[in-house]
Amino acid sequence: MPEPLPLPAPAAPPRAAESRPQPKHLTDLFWSFTLLALQGFGGVLAVVQRELVERKGWLTNEEFLEDWAVAQILPGPNVVNLAVVIGDRYFGLRGALVALAGMLLFPLLLVLALAVVYARFAEHAAVGGALRGMGAVAAGLVAGVALRMAGALRTHPLGPWVGAALVAATFGTMALLRWPLAWVLPLVGGAACALTWRKLAP
């Protein structure tokens, strides 16, 4: 299929893939995801972007957004889906399983340990305060990552302004109007995909 010429060059042509950093082997993949998961307080997503895109460089911002769109729109826990998508990208089915195991194994043991000693933890006011503080930070982390990724909209086929309007529509319907995701994705997501489809016309 011929590439549409007038578009600004996409940030990561597929050919660049070989020269980019990649997980070296399955063990590397496993421990990378374990470390990601163990840093992810209040959700792993912010850490995935920071580690895999900005530090390791395994994915570009655009690729991360694409993978996350897939992980988000399909049923199931998003970061678990994301581990499957990214693991499969490098090592196929084995990679998907290894990334999944890395994401789950040690965090699960940790959560169980916490559950066992929970009764003692919960009584201290300082522990409750620490959890509250970390919760507020977690909210900020996710917002900060969203702002960083918004930079990718500058090269979007729809242009930055339509992109920003779609961001606002999604945020408004989800956070302010509290629509269920099952409405937002078909309506806003459907409109966004249809508009992009027209722009990509060969």
Binding site: L65, V111, A130, A136, L166, F171
Partner: protein, 199 residues
């Protein structure tokens, strides 16, 4: 955790638990936490396998701990097993069984579907429709992230909106946006400020 109920789980009950999680797996669009109300209806209200307290503690612990939030499903199963197995080794064995059944149940269908869809998408990535989907969803994904941040912030701040917590969230967002500071420093600072009662 709160030792509360003693229940009897027959093999059919375990199967029922597993089938329940298999059945809601494909409905959990937007993450497992979105299906939490339905799990409460099934485990607490209909079957009486765990108590309200156990349910809430499981969600709270999994949210506070690092790692994917879906782990609260494992904790729910763990509690079902503890209630069924009683104290000692039998309880731990039953708890492990419950945890594995719940986690495998909720993840197996959705993970298989994701894997197949990813495969299909990679094979067809030059199709106009696939590119339109992936690129078109980018602004929606960013909007969803902002909405998640908003909901996380509101949940922790509760009814009495504390401006200092919002300030902390806003400052963190700025730092993440503009610098490459390691995220653990921010979380540590948040924990410290909270423990000292500053926020």
């Amino acid at each position: 955790m709160t030792p509360a109920a003693t229940i009897v789980m027959q093999p059919l009950d375990w199967l029922n638990l597993f089938l329940y999680y298999l059945s809601i797996s494909l409905l959990a669009v937007g993450g497992a936490i979105a299906a939490a109300p339905d799990m409460h209806r099934f485990l607490v209200e209909r079957q009486g396998w765990i108590t309200d307290l156990q349910f809430n503690a499981s969600v709270a612990i999994a949210q506070a701990a690092p790692g994917p939030n879906v782990l609260f499903v494992g904790l729910l199963g763990w509690n079902v097993g503890l209630n069924a197995g009683g104290p000692g080794a039998a309880g731990w064995a039953a708890a492990t069984l419950g945890m594995v059944l719940c986690l495998v149940g909720i993840m197996l269908p959705s993970t298989v579907l994701t894997w197949l869809a990813t495969r299909w998408g990679h094979r067809n990535k030059h199709r106009r429709s696939v590119r339109a989907f992936k690129q078109g969803m980018a602004p929606v994904v960013i909007g969803l992230l902002l909405a998640t941040a908003w909901l996380l912030g509101s949940a922790h701040h509760g009814a009495g909106t504390d401006p200092r917590l919002w300030l902390l969230s806003g400052a963190c967002a700025l730092v993440v946006w503009r610098t490459r500071l390691h995220l653990l420093w921010l979380l540590g600072a948040g924990a410290l400020l909270g423990a000292l009662g500053v926020v």
